[in-house]
């Protein structure tokens, strides 16, 4: 049924560390691979080896440029406490100061003028009260009462796409065959054509008793080379993920929609202030203290210095 279950204690979800994510797309590839071959597979693709490959991905990695990210000298806490407006005000102040004082190469204040890259994996947040479930006219889209995972029953889905329209996070993609593109494997993949697809939180891994205990985690979490992804019960305040969120100030995406997203994002840490970008700097004068050298090297230094 598309009515939401009563709020459960258990809220399985992901915690994604935007500080350590390097944007390698390993999570996206591992996700695609597992879900193409696992119990929920196959995932439909059009033109997979052609000029315009097109298909369903449950997890996609975006990259953003942030200007004014706090620097290490003054700490993130202060800069994170400022609202958006304060930030832009501070930025404007810095900019106008820059215009007036061209001799000062270094920007004062808590924010760096040097843009930073933040890589941002985006997938289903397994919201507590998502509209993608309630708008579904067939009952195909549902939220599990026992652990909060949001799933699609592919045997019931009619492919009306209303759930994808209701999701502000872009978590749902449908596998409609594109016209004009050769479908090399349409026969094998017909069973799921025309139905909505989404992240299952690897429900076929995390409860899979044929896997080692250590492997019972979502494929994206297992694949991440920088351990930027963490899986656990965000409904339990004593779980490792909940502690991590509390410690690092993890935040929810677009809470204003009222869907109660479960996944959390850990903010990027303040960066080291980089050297001012004012053209190539002259190499610093290096000095050698001969007194600290061994007798042989001291002799060599004396000979070569003549």
């Amino acid at each position: 049924m598309t009515a939401l279950p009563a709020p459960a204690k258990k809220k399985l979800g992901l915690v994604i560390d935007l500080d350590t994510c390097v944007g390698c797309h390993a999570c996206a590839v591992a996700c695609k691979e597992w879900n193409d071959g696992g119990a929920f597979g196959p995932l439909a693709d059009d033109d997979p080896y052609g000029a315009e490959p097109d298909g369903v991905w449950f997890n996609r990695v975006h990259s953003y440029e942030i200007t004014g990210l706090g620097t290490r000298d003054l700490g993130l806490a202060q800069s994170a406490m400022h609202g958006t407006e304060n930030h832009s005000d501070a930025f404007e102040a810095i900019s106008s100061q820059q215009v007036g004082d061209t001799n000062s190469p270094r920007v004062p204040g808590p924010e760096s003028r040097v843009p930073q890259m933040v890589h941002f994996p985006r997938s289903c947040l397994h919201c507590e009260t998502p509209d993608c479930v309630t708008v579904c006219p067939t009952g195909a889209s549902y939220k599990r009462a026992e652990d909060g995972i949001v799933l699609v029953d592919e045997d019931k889905c009619i492919g009306c796409q209303l759930c994808a329209w209701a999701c502000p996070y872009g978590a749902r993609e449908i596998s409609l065959p594109r016209r004009g593109v050769a479908q090399s494997d349409v026969g094998r993949r017909d069973s799921k054509r025309g139905t909505m697809q989404k992240c299952t939180l690897c429900v076929d891994r995390i409860y899979n008793e044929t896997l080692d205990q250590a492997d019972r985690q979502p494929a994206c979490v297992m694949a991440c080379p920088t351990r930027a992804r963490h899986f656990g019960d965000l409904g339990d305040p004593d779980s490792a993920v909940s502690k991590l969120v509390a410690e690092r100030g993890g935040y929810a995406l677009m809470p204003e929609f009222g869907y109660g997203p479960v996944n959390r994002y850990l903010p990027p840490r303040p960066r080291r202030e980089l050297a001012p970008v004012t053209g190539p700097a002259a190499p610093a004068e290096e000095t050698l203290e001969p007194a600290g050298l061994s007798p042989v090297l001291r002799w060599l230094d004396r000979v070569l210095s003549r």
Binding site: E52, D54, T67, H87, V118, D131, V135, P137, E173
Partner: protein, 312 residues
Amino acid sequence: MKPALSVIFLTVLGGAGYGLWCFLGAALALGMYPYGRGSVLVPLGFGFVLVTAGLIASTLHLGRPERAWRALTQWDSSWLSREGLAALTTYLPVLLVAGLARGHNLFPPTRAAGAVLTACSLVTLVCTARIYTSLKPIRAWRDPHVLPLYLLFALLSGGLWLWTYLAFDTGSHPPWFPLVLALLGVAAAGMKIDYWRAIDRAPAVTAGEATGLDRFGRVRAFEGPATEESYLTREMAFVLARKHSRRLRVLAIVLFCAVPLAVIAIAWPLSWQWIAPVAALSCLAGLFVERWLFFAEARHAVAAFFPQRRPA
């Protein structure tokens, strides 16, 4: 949002059909339709064609049309499910009216069936509009103008078809009927202009808001997740249409309001009933443009995650 042709057909044709049934049912209920059996069956049947064509078109939007019946099960939470049930239920009073209509149409069951027809048609129209207004990530569809506008457009286009029929068949409809339609047209145009002003003022979701990174600095979407288009960018980051939106807005107003008004203004004093179809057809064409813009101009929140593309 990418304009979905099948849904545009549903809302424009179906809207006109339900609007036509609203007027016909109300006229029967109020005892103001003493034109006999045939004069009920023809507009009733034309409404049937419009509504059924719209419903069939809407199934083309589905990835699995053969499972469409499943959409009738979740009426407790889904407006789409409610719309489907209301749409099918409305066929019952249509059959009743078709069976009961005769003579002066003053037989109480006929009038009751007419009232039920109007009520069911209005309920279906409200359900359809609520599908759109309930989608939180699309600000332009959350606008409070959307629901009343959809009702106005349905009544306007359906009413013009009923007027067209009466102008040819009996020619003896109440003289104020075209005036009511003219007022509906002016009201719809005024409200639509208000709606356009409102959505032009509403700010779009930014990349900083979408990612929550705006609390740390100024955010610019640098790279999308793939070099090729995907379902999300095709469906929800549709930008092409906004380029021509000014001209299309004017075209829509001219077709659904100005032309019908001019036709009514000419036909009424001169008794040129034969130009009535021009008004009904023009209104329908205008609503196609209006509905296309309704999709094309609406920004989905998920578009904010992607790098802004310049309109082609």
